[in-house]
């Protein structure tokens, strides 16, 4: 006896995916929230500027051939002594601050995104395995995580960085410096993903769709990958968004301390450090503008992350 298709199935016509998405709850809450919209726009500007820097920046601050020491320490264009070609002024080596910010943001974002991606992959994998397999493997992974957590992130990053510098010959250092930095920040941050995913996995594991998959005969690896992963990823994405901000700050701190990116690829942190020396001699723009750019970028990421967390929270929907 066939049952007639219910109202739910019959009344919904085939809307296009995009139209459905636009009307969806998430985008609706986005459109309604002015803070989210503004910070998303700011974020997109930062991302755009950083991504398109080589084509959009007025100068290339790292091409030594184009630098002219006579341009050094030029104030911003609207100040007395400023020049229109250098909108935000130049630093002590004649580099255009605006261009340096755009390229620096590039490095900052690269390190931020890559380290978060690394932390996420490592943390999610370990969390899934610990949560699903349980038992001793779970205990071992969690103890490692606990040990990891007792060290502050900066300290770990310093440690790995120091070890890398000690091990590698000098000329190889600049080449792998970025990689080492990404590794360091990633290793400092994977635990939060592992913990979240482990908790969610332990909950999902008991649900009957996982048991059904086991009865069908799916291998544990496939279960983790195809069934559990999509269901535990939600909170991880929110964590990652907020973590990008902290990763960028961590990188900026490390670069400020002098143990981050190499001087040939300055990030926003490096620029702040360099400009710090000139702050009290009157050339304030060299440190303030990169600082402001960093703050704006991190703030935008945080606000977007906040909105995302609330939007994805099923209980608030």
């Amino acid at each position: 006896m066939t049952e007639p298709v219910t109202a739910a199935a019959a009344t919904t016509a085939r809307e296009t995916r995009l139209a459905a998405a636009w009307k969806s709850d998430i985008l609706y809450s986005f459109r309604r929230d002015p803070v989210a919209v503004v910070s998303m726009i700011a974020l997109l500007i930062c991302l755009g500027a950083a991504f398109f820097a080589p084509w959009v920046a007025p100068h290339n601050p790292f091409d030594l051939k184009t630098l002219n020491l006579q341009d050094a320490l030029t104030p911003p264009a609207w100040e007395q002594g400023g020049r229109p070609g250098f909108l935000l002024g130049t630093d002590d080596q004649g580099r255009d601050v605006l261009s340096a910010i755009m390229f620096g943001a590039r490095i900052s974002l690269l390190v931020g995104l890559a380290s978060v991606a690394f932390a996420m992959i490592l943390g999610v994998t370990l969390g899934l395995v610990a949560g699903y397999v349980g038992g001793r493997l779970d205990a071992v992974i969690m103890r490692i995580a606990d040990v990891q957590l007792s060290f502050p992130a900066i300290l770990i990053a310093l440690l790995i960085d120091g070890v890398a510098r000690a091990l590698l010959p000098r000329d190889a250092q600049t080449g792998v410096a970025l990689a080492v930095l990404i590794l360091a920040i990633g290793l400092a941050n994977w635990v939060q993903y592992a913990r979240t995913v482990r908790g969610s996995t332990m909950v999902e594991k008991t649900k009957e769709y996982v048991q059904a998959a086991r009865v069908i005969g799916i291998t544990p690896l496939a279960i983790m990958r195809r069934h559990l992963l999509p269901n535990v990823l939600g909170p991880v994405l929110v964590l990652a968004t907020l973590n990008i901000a902290t990763a960028i700050i961590t990188e900026a701190t490390l670069s400020f301390l002098g143990v981050g990116v190499p001087p040939t690829q300055p990030s926003l942190g490096t620029l702040i450090r360099v400009g710090n020396d000139f702050l009290f001699s009157g050339e304030w723009w060299i440190t303030i503008f990169p600082g402001a750019a960093l703050v704006i970028m991190v703030l935008a990421i945080n606000l977007v992350g906040d909105w995302l967390r609330d939007a994805l929270n099923p209980r608030l929907r």
Binding site: P4, T6, A7, A8
Partner: protein, 344 residues
Amino acid sequence: MAMQEVIPQRSSDTGAAVPLLSVSGLTVEFPTRHRLLTAVQDISFSIAPGEVLGVVGESGAGKSQTGAAIIGLIDPPGRIAAGEIRLAGRRIDSLPPQEMRKVRGREIGAIFQDPLTSLNPLYTIGRQLTETIATHLPLNAREARDRAVALLEEVGIQGAARRFDHYPHQFSGGMRQRVVIALALAANPKLIVADEPTTALDVSIQAQIILLLKRLASVHHTAVMLITHDMGVIAETADRVAVMYAGRIVEIGPVAAVIHRPAHPYTMGLMGSIPSITAERERLAQIDGAMPRLDAIPAGCAFHPRCPQAVARCRTERPELATIEATDAACWVAQRTTGGSVDG
């Protein structure tokens, strides 16, 4: 040893002079972003003092929302959009929250489905009991404690004085539900609203709780509004029963009549689809389709798309409750067959 309980036979006060609870034209709505969900639509019924009224229906029928409206615990954005609720003649649906809180607990007691979440796990049950008693009754601490222990004994908790200081997790599911019943009775309310009180319990414990409820209601002359989807529990416990569908009452009447001589096609289908441990049936009666969604309730009689007896009038006009033999049913077809002018 098995217990034999003798329940004093209770008369059905359908014709009682002053109803304890009187609901008229109650409508509960949930305005959401996309649409308006109507959980309860223009229902009216009454409960006499000391009577047990069963409210039965399937998921989405609106029975829990009716109970919530009476207790005054509808979650926003839901709200009572229309109608009146009167307790002993006094209107309670429009009371300010302060007043409603006094009514709730003192005059209306509530029992919910999950005994685990009905009790605060951080406090002893004794403390939760005395707190409720002290809030609503003018007793000092000593008297409140004595009353609490007496209540625990009355609901069948062995060693009540000792268990007074135990925490909820130290009780089994059935025992916890007894404590919840004691809590509901603490301030000697006139009406108890019980929403699925036995659904989460094992069959044998269910039987104990049902007997307990019946005995207490009879002894204390408390009216009970028993909300459940389990028709068997209603059969055992209730005097009258209201059958709800898509937010409306489709049939109401004495329990035996509704079960054995239903007039409404939905009630008939419902009774036929319940498996029994005595009757042998090859196939259970089946109502095709499903209850409509709360934002897509059909015009006219809400049941007409699934009704084997629907006629043209059913599609356009919503039927009102009218007396059909032993019960009141909201059905044009049933009303036609018992006389009265209806064009088919």
